[in-house]
Symmetry: C2
Subunit: 240 residues, 2 copies
């Protein structure tokens, strides 16, 4: 308790699990870090150490707007990761020091989730070699504890959608078919939905309304497009 | 981006919103900080800067076990508070420096919630003049952003109870009356429940079971005691 040397300076970063949905799989927006020597491409969650003048919400907003050019993507803070083992890999420490300069003893990170349409334009950011969408099932070993953050962020989407079902529609195009919505639910919840049962679920969502447009040029029977109606959604919430 | 001086060392702390229920009001366990000059008693949430060897979960567990002597109270991390304005008050900076020694430029905190029975024994901790339960409606101005953390922690209990109703019963004695349970729901949700409607709600919770014991020595009509059945609760969850 009174050993004052035991309280160390720490660096604080943010990392963002940015989700897109490609019609089949959930994807995470990953960046390839520069300054890494040889081997397989070294993908990680986009992030940054927080700067002196900003809080973690602002730092996460900055990371996202650098990548997407969009200032207004909804971000949800979900957990602070602070294990003393985060910097166990010397390669991660070397990269941090080449990127941020000062000697880093301890780095804790605050993790955020954002849900967005996968066709959003992604900017080149000088800090990274590249940024790209990667389906969850193809993500390899990432540096730091980014695999754990990615895994736990998926559970966080489920909790978020349980109290705020509207967030699911941030992942879909403006018009979507019933099959697309079902596959999104399957990807988020990690289970299969029976087609008939899912149709009942769809009917119960009275804020998902059919349009008069249908798929064109598809090999199978053309499906109707639906859209998410934000006004009906809000009214539904008021009536709860 | 490349101004390396803009990435500062930061101190990281934890603060705990420890809730108890006195039968009428929700209470927070507050501590009176030492080393503060004159004026009204200076109450704050219990907390600590994290030590070199621990993560934030461990630091929060240490703070709680110092206060309660109990190692195993469930803690829920809910948010990192990192505004640059947290250290705006010079009195807070002086207190931090007397408590932790080094010059503190920036302090971010990770906030936790714990729910416990209010009759739990609270230890004297040398770091504080005193520790005591304080009803929410009697909490005055606290240092740092502790009022904001306290306010937002109440919303977090609501979210927690929405996905995990069992947590409400951590706040109640082993045997409780329907009126006690109703008052707890009223305190958490900040609204009144009609007695009849609440009774229907109680009946729908099939994991809250009546005992064959009744209140004794009360001026009004004696009420029956209920208890929370963890096994029935778990089975209910499986059937969801």
């Amino acid at each position: 308790m009174n050993d004052k040397t035991a309280y160390l300076h720490t660096y604080v970063s943010v990392d963002c699990a940015v989700y897109g949905f490609d019609g089949q799989s959930l994807n995470l927006l990953l960046v390839e870090r520069t300054g890494n020597s040889g081997g397989a491409p070294d993908l990680k969650l986009p992030g940054s150490i927080i700067m002196n003048h900003e809080d973690t919400d602002q730092a996460a907003g900055r990371v996202l707007s650098e990548l997407t050019g969009v200032g207004k993507i909804k971000l949800r803070q979900f957990r602070c990761y602070s294990s003393v083992e985060r910097l166990a890999d010397p390669q991660d420490v070397r990269w941090l020091e080449s990127e941020y300069g000062p000697k880093v003893d301890r780095l804790i990170t605050v993790a955020y989730i954002a849900l967005t349409r996968i066709d959003r334009r992604i900017n080149d950011v000088p800090k990274y070699k590249s940024a790209r969408w990667c389906p969850l099932e193809q993500i390899g070993r990432m540096p730091f504890d980014h695999n754990r953050i990615a895994d736990e962020s998926l559970g966080e989407i489920r909790d978020w959608a349980a109290t705020e079902p509207a967030v699911m529609f941030d992942l879909l195009p403006r018009k979507f078919t019933e099959a697309q919505l079902r596959r999104l639910y399957e990807a988020v919840h990690g289970r299969r939905y029976d087609v008939r049962n899912f149709h009942k679920k769809l009917v119960s969502m009275d804020y998902v309304v059919p349009t008069d447009q249908w798929q064109k040029g598809v090999a199978h029977r053309a499906a109707r497009y639906y859209r998410f109606d934000r006004v009906l959604y809000r009214n539904r919430r008021v009536s709860l």
